[in-house]
Symmetry: C2
Subunit: 579 residues, 2 copies
């Protein structure tokens, strides 16, 4: 029955979202939220004069990670951000701007007022626009005359123009609250379709991705001023297909292109090179550059606030809040291994539509139950949790995704990469990867995921994505997940025994709930069921919903559950987690 | 006799230096040192492929201050600086560079190694060159990859190329020591020619001026990166025709052009403006901008060392040392009154050749006798001293230079300028100013200068260049010189009573020496005479030269002189300086 339900949900979604079927083998990227179906009550995308299908092509996942990044970065350079008055005639704004060039796409969003992102077809339209734009008069305050691509659009006579307003379609930049999500999930007809609904609500929208690349491009303008060969690229959740709406923008400053010119002019008996500041270490250079760019953002960057330099960290960093886009940003300097990790996840996310649906569901579940946290600590990180899902999918029979060693075997010459002595080569061309024959539904996969980790021998075994095998732990960390590239590092070294025990307890409990649930009965009772049932904190027995849900669960289970939540008195978990 | 001697000296200098005669009325700018005559033993200017007469046109002084600045700044943007190996074939370097464009001028100088300044005819030659130049390989050290216009030229195989070296002509960037100057002066045949020799040895050379504009242009590249409408302009001694070799480069960051665009795009019913950082005061904006540019210079600027931010001063400032040019630089933000002061001095310096000769002689004299100092204190500043010379020249009969009120009367519409409530208007077009009929020689003027200030009633009177009249002191500062633009300020407020007394004593002593001297006898005895005699510290009785010179001076004078130098026991000066 579950299988049939998934089929229905998917056929519903596929029509609107261009979703491939599970095991269908078609890689996919990000779903266009503006075009989402009935289950997703979002404003339809504002009519933009873009070529049909263009966006789809960017997002099909047929492109390599690098191709997508290059395209998005180029797109961002043709883009401006305009703060608009609360009431506005959209067509008038577009007409006004189009005197500077063809507008390829645009959308509106709400963030401390209404903003419009405008993508021109040609980069030089921006120069034309910038040339025509005024500097704010310094009557009441003084301005730092740094000319960015952030503008303010004003009506000269707001009253007379109010009549011409048309309602604006606003593209959402944040996901809905969990309680609203749970409501939505209850109306689905299978766990699988619940998981796709969650994915669709939480994943980054095309618009949000454009904003992320724009903020990188705006920071690049600062770096570019002094280092014309440098670029600023997003990495991590913004680009690895696993980012959720509202997540931070991790970006890095890349000087790699600078090196291309090194020692170029060597014709004849002479050499000529730039006089440059010399420093005893690359780290010191990184710190100095980040420090100055941090100051530039702080002092010149419109809307750049709360700039924090964290230069003595292992990976020197500038944190800042970008008010116009609403993003919290972390700027570091090129970290090749972090980028390869992003690319690896991108590949896994594109290979099979079930991958991202399962990851988003598990991460949402983990967050609800306090297994992950946005502040650093002994919690399992989102990255570790994602790797655990990947490993689980490698362990299916037949496997849903290949091991890293298999991806490495498919690498061609241009994919070869050794960083700091570690071989980080793997195939970049998605079309070279054979898709799985596994046709398991997400209903099955979700339940089995919880069962798998509920029974995993964490005491003895570690998780190795390179081999796709449980291997003996090389050391005694409670949770050991091999860093896929730096093979002697454990990416979950931070996780302590109580946190791991909590995870195992929650996984067991969740597996048990999914097994026991009588969906038909719960739907009739309008009780949360399936994934929705897993997204209610288990300990909250005072809530009505919880009480209702608890009716179907034996008292022994509740006792076990509560025991496991106390963490100080772990019981049945001892053996499994190796205490 | 003196008059004839001046005539001879001038006709000698005029042939090589294109000097106009005194009172001739031809304005002149900077003398080209490379082409200086026999009295000036400098290396002849390296043969540069420049158009003949081009430089002369820049320097004739026919141009307004603004025209000269604009031309020089544009020239600086077409200029690069190249560090060369100690031995070099000049033609090979030029041939090598000329593949990127026509070289309009060039020269070599010594400053922590050999450097070449290369001026291209076209700005885009620099882009072509930059594109071909390599980044230093980061084998032993790491570089900050900021690409400036400072390059290093290297021979791949120094040994095999050593045979092809040709001796380089090095343009001097520092004036000769006073003791060498005194030697030279002794060979002149009049005080007037001595003063022109001193001027020629001390004044900025065309090459040095090019370097000064280049360093401004290099700083501009930093500011330009973020503020494309900004410029960095030199002011003060680098441009007022009174700078001596080795003096600091005062420069300011000018945003004035930025304001032109203010509120431009106002067509139709809409307005669009840049989003910019807003600050409560212009001072705060200035501080933030200077702070970031200071950091950029410090962290990215090759050869920028000892960067000091002095942001809480009345006029916020960044001091730095620019190693490639050897300049000590002070960067501030646009100070309109300082610029008008530079322009006023430029006009006075261009009006009559005697003006600069007298100022340079008096300043050299003052420095030798400890009346001025490079560190701030109670000493008379060079600016005050220059103003005292100007005032003296206004007081001649007929006056040699006009008063500021007369220059103001000649101002046309475009010269009108009010800054902070002060009328700073004066004529910019030199051709509108009627030249003097006064034909006094510098021999006369120098002696009379010392007599004039030796007898000046400092107790009661102040120096007012606007009116060209001694006026009653508005307050009790020992020395009161009216700020020419901010009329309620005294530019010599820092000078205390002992310093003023010392100045008057030295002036009297010098006037006395010039009156008493028997030139013919001294020349036969090979003793310092005329200006040379004034450039030997009066107190140094242990030196042989001094002993010789002292022979001709009565013992009473020496006692008076020594008394006045003690400063604690002022005697005959009391009445004059108002103690």
């Amino acid at each position: 029955m579950a299988h049939r339900a998934v089929g229905r949900a998917l056929s519903l979604l596929r029509g609107r979202l261009r979703l491939p079927g599970p095991g269908h083998g078609q890689p996919r990227g990000h779903v266009r939220p503006g075009s989402s179906g009935a289950a997703v009550q979002r404003a339809p995308q504002a009519a933009a004069p873009e070529e049909p299908g263009e966006d789809a092509e960017v997002n099909t996942g047929k492109k390599t990670f690098t191709e997508v990044q290059t395209e998005r970065l180029e797109q961002a350079e043709r883009t401006v951000l305009i703060k608009c008055p609360p009431k506005l005639n959209e067509n008038k704004l577009l007409q006004y701007l189009s005197s500077h060039g063809n507008i390829k796409s645009h959308f509106f969003f709400e963030n401390r007022g209404i903003h419009a992102l405008i993508e021109f077809s040609e980069k030089n339209s921006i120069a034309s626009l910038q040339d025509a734009i005024g500097v704010p008069s310094a009557a009441e305050y003084h301005v730092v005359p740094f000319k960015s691509r952030l503008f303010t659009f004003m009506l000269k006579n707001p009253v007379s123009q109010a009549a011409e307003e048309t309602p604006l379609h606003l593209s959402p930049q944040f996901h809905i609250p969990v309680k609203d999500l749970i409501q939505k999930l209850c109306h689905a007809d299978s766990i699988s379709s619940q998981m796709y609904i969650l994915l669709n609500e939480y994943q980054l929208t095309d618009e949000n991705i454009k904003l992320r690349y724009l903020v990188c491009s705006l920071v690049r303008d600062f770096a570019h001023a002094y280092f014309p060969d440098s670029t600023v690229k997003p990495f991590g959740s913004s680009v690895n297909t696993f980012g959720k709406l509202g997540c931070d923008v991790d970006m890095f400053l890349d000087f790699r292109d600078t090196q291309k010119h090194a020692a170029k002019m060597k014709k004849g008996p002479f050499e000529m090179e730039y006089q440059m500041k010399r420093l005893p270490s690359e780290r010191l250079a990184t710190q100095k550059i980040l420090s100055v760019i941090g100051d530039c953002l702080d002092n010149f960057g419109p809307g750049c606030v709360s700039v924090q330099k964290i230069l003595n960290a292992r990976c020197p960093l500038v944190k800042f809040s970008h008010q116009p886009t609403g993003f919290q940003c972390d700027l570091s300097v090129s970290n090749s291994i972090a980028i390869k990790s992003s690319e690896l996840l991108y590949i896994y996310g594109c290979l099979d539509s079930r991958v991202r649906a399962l990851v988003f569901s598990v991460r949402c579940w983990a967050r609800v139950h306090g297994l992950t946290n946005s502040i650093p600590g002994t919690w399992i990180t989102n990255f570790s949790l994602t790797m655990m899902v990947m490993f689980f999918l490698q362990r299916r029979s037949p496997p849903i995704i290949p091991t890293l060693d298999q991806l490495k075997e498919l690498a061609d010459q241009k994919d070869k990469l050794v960083i700091g002595g570690y071989d980080c080569s793997f195939v970049s061309d998605l079309s070279k990867i054979k898709r799985t024959n596994n046709t398991e539904t997400l209903d099955v996969l979700l339940g089995d995921f919880f069962e798998y980790y509920g029974n995993f021998d964490f005491r003895r075994n570690s998780i190795n994505l390179r081999k796709g095998k449980e291997v003996n732990k090389p050391e005694s960390s409670p949770l050991y997940i091999w860093n896929p590239f730096e093979q002697d590092l454990n990416i979950s070294k931070n996780v302590n025994q109580p946190q791991l025990e909590k995870f195992v307890a929650m996984a067991r409990e969740s597996a048990w709930i999914l097994r026991k649930e009588e969906k038909a009965q719960q739907m009739i009772n309008k009780e949360p069921w399936g994934l929705a049932a897993l997204l209610i904190p288990f300990g909250k027995s005072n809530s009505n919903k919880m009480k209702n849900r608890m009716k179907g669960i034996g008292s022994e289970t509740i006792r076990n559950l509560l025991d496991s939540l106390k963490l100080n008195n772990p019981n049945s978990l001892q053996k499994a987690v190796g205490k």
